[in-house]
């Protein structure tokens, strides 16, 4: 059976072609028209693999644009899809921490990848990829370097979580001559603290799997491990977890 899972996020649209395993994946900016982005992502997958649309048995959509994309067999929320996708990537995961562009979530799983409980952040962008991006730009770091500052270096604590207030705090630290590295580390630490308090409220069960775009910040990962006192696993394909989960669900419909 051949299925496609499409995860239409607020920033990026991810699609996975699946036949019991990942055949191919595709990422594309969502832009202003989520259903259009869903189509483009599917078409790219089909074209690249020389498939006609008729060859696909089922399609499941997820993400914030899931309902606008109508040519699907089912729309499933990103919580359920992430859980299934994460479980497929690593069946040992019992807690998923997912930090994406605009939101973050913690999901507890059972040994089948079913959701036991979950929590999402509130409306603001504090502690998400967006927050880190704004701060990296402010500090004139390429995002990769920002996410890889030495976690054992000197650290300047940042007390505001609000993007706007943190920005002015950063500016004032820099004006006092505090090093960019120390400030960057403080910002990452504040994200780690926020994430670990969310994890704490849900009750962390090992193994913790970290997914979403922000999981590609190695220094954040080690700060988190310090906070939680346990291993935090990351995965190369982790930003496809939602699309992968939907493809998987599609294959079981």
């Amino acid at each position: 059976m051949l299925t496609i899972g499409v995860d239409i996020g607020s920033v990026g649209t991810k699609a996975v072609l699946f036949d019991g395993d990942i055949v191919d994946r595709h990422l594309e900016p969502t832009g202003w028209n989520p259903s259009e982005a869903g189509h483009r992502a599917m078409e790219s997958l089909l074209k690249r693999n020389s498939l006609s649309p008729g060859r696909i048995d089922r399609v499941v959509s997820t993400g914030y644009g899931r309902k606008s994309f109508v040519e699907v067999d089912k729309a499933v929320t990103e919580i359920t899809c992430h859980a299934r996708g994460a479980h497929f990537m690593d069946p040992e995961i019992r807690t998923v921490l997912d930090i994406g562009g605009q939101d973050s979530k913690v999901i507890l799983l059972d040994d089948q990848g079913r959701v036991l409980d979950f929590m999402m952040n509130d409306k603001c962008a504090a502690g998400t990829g967006r927050f880190l991006q704004v701060m990296a730009t402010l500090l004139e770091y390429p995002i990769e370097e920002f996410g890889a500052v030495d976690p054992d270096g000197e650290m300047q604590k940042i007390s505001s979580m609000c993007t706007v207030f943190a920005e002015s705090e950063v500016v004032s630290h820099l004006a006092k001559g505090i090093s960019k590295n120390a400030v960057a580390l403080g910002l990452l630490e504040s994200v780690a603290v926020r994430a670990s308090s969310m994890l704490g409220r849900m009750g962390v069960k090992p193994v913790v799997g970290f997914t979403g775009g922000v999981s590609r910040c190695p220094s954040l990962v080690s700060l988190l491990e310090g906070q939680l006192n346990c291993d935090v696993r990351t995965y190369g394909d982790s930003h496809y977890a939602g699309a992968l989960g939907s493809a998987l669900i599609a294959s079981e419909l």
Partner: protein, 383 residues
């Protein structure tokens, strides 16, 4: 099966008359009947009506006047308080407009401080609510608050309220409560006879219908007809729709939560909120001296402003069982501390019954509709 749904017809009729309450209040006011605004379930309906007045619920539901309210009130206050105050301030609520007096209760801190400001606009009577429903001290304090309210009403409207008048009102209100209970029980059926949205609509209609002598038989008949259509096979809710109980803060301005639940394929079968079974599910004892019976009845409203709030927990447990619910969704209005803190206990209670629980924090705006759909959708996918 009939081609036109019988229940659709019945509901269309209710919807068409939803706004009649405003006219009823206007007419009554023009005829010289005093109108008394109430904000909370603790306001004893029976005493107000025994004074010959019409009690109108003012607990506001709209987002519009919140901006105006924020000129006087802090922004991070519960939307219910801001909306209530905003409607009063901007004179956009017809019920408030016609009020001769407002009854306030010292419930949560936000509300009681807001009332101080509101007292500049209307004659306002504050009932001092004890912080607990337990013990003789609290009970006798609440008992004397009922006396104080009675005296105030008598004085304001130049009437005397005797026990007989109160007893009559107790009997009438009890009949309405029983009729409402029979409406809610339509959702004990599997699948329920009507959706949670429809149930909410009907109970809102009842809340703003001020001729209870007419309302009670009408409601009885409505329930009877719905039941009849159901027995003849009319189904509005799918057999597999998960059955959800909603609890927490008053839902008035946060009905989007009901919509999110039902749009995702579940059905709300029970409301443990003000306006739902929290007050109206319990009768006043008609065999006791009326003021005594009223004291006990209202003191035991399971509101989170009480410490401890034992009656809410007991009631919740019963409702979860008797409505055979599959999951519980708690609604917390932004900045409502008492309900927000109580979610911990509610979560424990619900989980002890082996059912999933979720709390959602929201306000009266539309800004979180997408997020609500995801949260609630994911919760339902868990069931």
């Amino acid at each position: 099966m009939k081609s036109v749904s019988r229940i659709d017809e019945l509901l269309a009729d209710v919807e068409a008359h939803l706004k009649d309450g405003v006219l009823q209040v206007k007419e009554a006011s023009e005829k010289g009947r005093p109108i008394v605004g109430t904000y909370c379930t603790f306001a004893p309906w029976e005493l107000i009506t025994a004074a010959g007045a019409i009690p109108a619920t003012l607990c506001a539901r709209g987002e519009d006047p919140i901006t105006a309210a924020e000129e006087h009130l802090p922004r991070n206050l519960c939307p219910l308080i801001k909306s209530s105050y905003g409607y009063a301030l901007t004179d956009k609520c017809p019920y408030f407009h016609f009020c001769d007096m407002v009854i306030a209760e010292s419930t949560c801190d936000g509300k009681k401080k807001m009332y101080e400001l509101m007292s500049r606009m209307k004659p306002l009577h504050l009932m001092m609510l004890p912080q607990t429903a337990e013990g003789d001290v609290a009970r006798s304090a609440w008992r004397s608050e009922l006396d104080r309210l009675k005296a105030r009403l008598e004085d304001a409207f130049s009437v005397t309220i005797d026990d007989e008048a109160i007893s009559k009102r107790i009997a009438l209100r009890n009949r309405e409560r029983m009729a409402l209970n029979s409406l809610w029980e339509l959702s004990r059926l599997d699948p329920p006879a009507i959706t949670g949205r429809e149930q909410f609509l009907i109970s809102e209609y009842c809340e703003f219908h001020f001729h209870k002598e007419e309302l009670v038989p009408w409601l009885g008949n409505l329930v009877y007809q719905i039941r009849e259509a159901y027995d003849q096979g009319e189904r509005r809710v799918g057999k597999d729709a998960p059955r959800i109980l909603i609890t927490g803060c008053p839902l008035g301005g946060a009905q989007k939560v009901i919509h999110a639940i039902e749009d995702a394929g579940a059905v709300v079968v029970c409301y443990e909120n003000c306006g739902g079974v929290k007050e109206l599910g319990f009768l006043v004892d008609e065999d006791r001296p009326p003021m005594e019976a009223l004291t006990d009845k209202y003191l035991n409203v399971g509101c989170s402003v009480m410490t401890p709030n034992t009656s809410r927990m007991d009631n919740l447990k019963n409702l979860i069982e008797s409505y055979n619910v599959d999951g519980v969704v708690e609604v917390v209005l932004q900045a409502c501390h008492t309900y927000a803190v109580e979610t911990y206990e509610v979560r424990e209670l619900v989980r002890s019954t082996g059912r999933p629980y979720m709390s959602v924090e929201t306000d009266y705006s539309k800004s979180d509709i997408g997020q609500l759909a995801t949260r609630i959708g994911a919760f339902l996918e868990m069931l």
